[in-house]
Amino acid sequence: MSEAIAVPKNGKHPSYLDYQGKHKGFLGWILSTDHKRIGILYLVSILSFFMVGVTFGFLMRLELLTPGRTIVDAQTYNSFFTLHGVIMIFLFVIPGIPAVFGNFFLPILIGAKDVAFPRLNLLSWYLYVAGGLLAVISILLPGGPADTGWTFYIPYSVRTGTNVSLALFAAFVLGFSSIVTGLNFVTTVHRLRAPGMTWFKMPLSVWSFYSTAWVQVLATPIIGITMLLVIIERAFGVGLFDPALGGDPVLYQHLFWIYSHPAVYIMILPAMGIVSEIIPVFARRTIFGYKFIAMSSIAIALFGSLVWAHHMFTAGMSNTGQFIFSLLTMVVAIPSAIKVFNWTATLYKGSIELATPLLFVLAFIFQFSIGGLTGIMQGVLSVDIMVHDTSFIVAHFHYVMFGGTGFGLFAALHYWFPKMFGKMYNEKVSKSAFWLLFVGFNTLYFPMFIMGWLGMPRRYYDYLPEFQIYHVISTVGSWILVIGILIMFGNLIKALVSGKKITDKNPWGGETLEWTIETPPIHENFIDIPTVHEAPYQYKLNEATTLKTQEVK
């Protein structure tokens, strides 16, 4: 299935970084179908957009430092949160971990030489870049950047004169990028596992990439079509959603969230996979409850598709609807809770090294727990009526998407960095950066829970004086956070340029397949496809005593 790997022109088995195929230099990167190079292309583009998103977030916090105008006017502020949301959602968290680390490591983790469809894989990156450029163009064209919020609710999104159609089209194109990646991963996991790698011998990150991929394939077309319909409505005045034309604005919200709620699981599941991958390595012991963690990924993907209308508890649904969606929302929290308990139990009787990746993972568990628990609070109908569309929600989703997925991505970056580049970063600096991120993050978002409960609505350019104290704390948090981000990336970039070279295959002592190959990996990953005999995370060598265990089979 994967295309025949061409013989390199330079040496026998050069690393994928040195490999020379048909094209040289820059072209050798942007025309490469090597999943590892595509992963790096994604890494660079996704982190660039992340920094753009951070800039908008930082400016928003600055504006909110004082009531009234601080640095920009209301129209600009409204565009800021729209662009911030669109970039962070469609260009950072949704592609995020699968596009970067899924591309780079999924084939290696299952003992394959590439993904099932390498060319489609490259196409997905081009679609991503095209979507990103469209989004950027929509900022620059006359008419002005979209000011609808990332949710594009109708009828405002039909009425406003800003470049909404272009922003919608950008999201449409990005959707295809996501679908192609999903299709590729589903096929890869089904078809290209190494001999002996049965389903329950797959690393847990593979389980989570696999469940994510299904959601990408099944849910994304819905948002694609919905965005097209809005564009049609804007362009031709067809009355689908706009009540002035006889349409139904609530229908739009249903269609939007039928995708965008499952999308929340596209965002979080891969990060959960990363957590399951990293804890055993640094605790030097087997994962607790492998099957429960694997199955909970599937359960989350399934049940997560049935709870979309919990975003619409104030929209005036029937009581039957409210009842069912609230109940299902509460139930869908359980598989996530199961994961958290199993991760914590995996630390029990380990031999724990508190390296940078594990620090990020522990922060993930803490912050994701806060995000998840407040999510349960929002699932409680009467409470949601109070906190819906307040900064409580803003805090909740940043705790999940940034405190969870964002920190998960940083964990993965620090964990796989030496394997990907054959360079090591300064661990002392990376730990200081971590603490700045951790303190900054919580200072930035925790006050938003309090404000939200006290009645501070979201998407507000201005606010009542009684909320200022919380806004000030939050803005100071954003400064600490941004310093942490800059130090973290500075440290990694410095490592790329002048970091300590490493060729050790297994610097952390992991037991999944990527640690059995060269550092950095050779172009074809494995010279001979390995045969897998055991489930991952055995860690038999470092065992003190063997307890009576329930074998994972």
């Binding site: 609070m377 409680v380 009467s382 109070m386």
Partner: protein, 217 residues
Amino acid sequence: MFNGASNFAKEVDFAFLFTLVVSIFFLVLITGLMIYFVVKYNRKRNPKATNVHSNVFLEVTWTVIPTILVLIMFWYGWVGYVDMSEAPKDTLNIDVTAQMWKWTFKYENGKTTDSLYVPVDKPVKLNLHSLDVNHAFYIPKFRIKKDVYPNQQRMIWFEAKELGSFDIACAEYCGLNHSYMYNKVKVMPQEEFSVWLNTTVPDSTTKNDSTNKSTGK
């Protein structure tokens, strides 16, 4: 923090407090265990690990207990919500119009205002609709919120339990001045309210005399 001023406040605040306490319990439990394990089983202190694969009893316990807890939470939320969704029969009815970026309140006798005046201890029903885009009618102190749509009717009701003046905000993004769509609800003693309702103020529409009897109780 828990100073709601309507008939729903007690129920909502209780549900909030209950979920909050359970959440804090689990957060402290997980974080505490994490820190404890990291310290106790640090590689320096514990160079050899012990493999524990799984334990069915534990898995069942930490599935069943949270499930029961979330079902209890769900129930409190549902019960609180049902109260909000059904207005009692004998209410004071007011039409609320939202538009970019202001609220208008129209009483049954035709009197029209930009602030909402209501009597204390009497159920008030608001019929909500919008002239342009989506808005959401939100009184934080009363713990109530409802989206407001053009060409569609929505209903919200409450019974104010405290005299005074509280904020009305718009909670659904509606463009440029969304954050300035604030107004006040003024809760008055019942007699004072009847007097107010039946007095012609300069900005009110005419015809309040003819409908006096139906509302001025």
